[in-house]
Symmetry: none
DNA sequence: CCGTGTGTTCACGCGATCGTCACCTCCCCT
DNA sequence: AGGGGAGGTGACGATCGCGTGAACACACGG
């Protein structure tokens, strides 16, 4: 469920961590360069970040400093082969949340990732993500609301989630199964019209103004798609 | 500044920790029994708790379990002479935020306490901070009071904290969980109406004047939001 | 020891929300 | 052109969220 960003240049270790985190119910993403990791940290907001200190691109120290300077609050767990007291204290001082010395047990890593994600509740529901603007439609995750021509669309939480999910993949067709899975947490549907009804209500609210114009398009037999123009 | 609760039965170690934490700008409080520590954790809400596992009264394990079961969200750093992988993993699993094996360096302890308090579950220090003005509403952190048209609203400390928290993120929807965590230091809520009641009283006090006008808006199924206009 | 101020929990009730269903419309394929 | 199935639409009912008033718990000051 929760995403974990692994910034580690050793393929073997990264894969091992990913495997164990997956088994524990996390959704790990691996990156082998510091600069790439920083970019992904900025855009997709993972619940936790596991960071190696020795990295190509930019090293872990600069990674930490930059991330904190930019105000990114993601819990960061440093893993490193070097584990002198000075290293540990310094990393913690400049913004690390935890420090594990290699070699470490995967069990402990998983436990510490769990602990970090547990307390990082704050990005769970609100706050994550930028506003998305598509023509006169503005989708604001911070307010959990959408606006048309600056006027609130009065979306309910579920409606908003659907719209936001479509907006994250705007231009792409999103299947019903995907929506049902991500928003309702259901696995399979036999004849479930839940999504359809929700989309209808959504359309009633956001397509009302610009008549003749529908933001949410239907892909027959597949799913729904939100218009792509990023304004 | 920030209070740190030290639950440790060895006087010498406790005093050492207290001394170093004081030097680092913390306000340590020592307790030598588990049951007493738990009471103080419940009563005064420290920013961080440092917990030894071997204790008279109730031991650290039960301390951890009880605190978390009660929904107390204070970051807890476990320190222990026993440091097997199993111990560490288990402690983290049942709610510890960090685990240090004795003997440890005081520098590292301080660094980890800093890291834990940094991601501060709660906004302990209300004192610093600018006044926030929203139309005729003035929120003054120094006075711990709000004013409407220059007249005191007579807010209680808790009411003020809620208002201030909303004001810091004005325009953004703040979830109940977030408020409960930041102000009351609880992590999970089962069916807790504390926030609702507090908000009701807040509204009674600050919305009284400008009738027809509510500063605090409800986002159904999500949380509360304070009006955005910075005057 | 008892009022008072403050904070938390409880119980009730209304209204918002959301899933389901039935029926209708439209698309796609043959 | 017609049939079957996918999707749109409107309505209904159960549930849940939350406002509200009151009871309850607790520390403080006299």
């Amino acid at each position: 469920m929760s995403k974990v960003l692994i910034v580690e240049d050793d393929e073997v270790i990264a894969q091992g961590m990913a495997r164990h985190l997956t088994a524990a119910g996390f959704d790990p993403v691996c990156v082998n360069r510091g600069d790439l990791g920083l970019q992904r940290l900025r855009f997709e907001h993972p619940a936790v970040c596991v960071l190696d200190l020795m990295l190509p691109g930019i090293d872990g120290w600069r990674f930490l400093e930059t991330a904190r300077a930019e105000g990114l609050g993601t819990p960061i767990i440093v893993v490193s082969a070097r584990g002198t007291e000075h290293d540990r204290v310094h990393a913690l001082e400049i913004g690390a949340d935890d420090y594990l010395v290699k070699p470490f047990s995967m069990k402990e890593l998983v436990a510490r990732v769990k602990a970090a994600s547990r307390r990082g509740v704050r990005t769970e529901s609100v706050e994550r993500g930028e506003r998305i603007e598509i023509e006169e439609l503005v989708i604001d995750p911070r307010e959990v609301q959408a606006y048309i021509d600056g006027e609130s669309a009065g979306l309910t939480p579920t409606e908003f989630k659907v719209l936001y999910q479509l907006a994250l993949d705007r231009g792409r067709v999103v299947t019903r199964e995907e929506l049902l899975q991500k928003i309702w947490g259901r696995r399979q549907m036999y004849r479930d019209r839940t999504v359809d009804v929700c989309v209808k209500r959504l359309r009633d609210k956001i397509d009302r103004r610009a008549s003749q114009h529908t933001f949410i398009q239907t892909r027959f037999g597949v799913g729904y798609k939100l218009e792509a123009q990023a304004k």
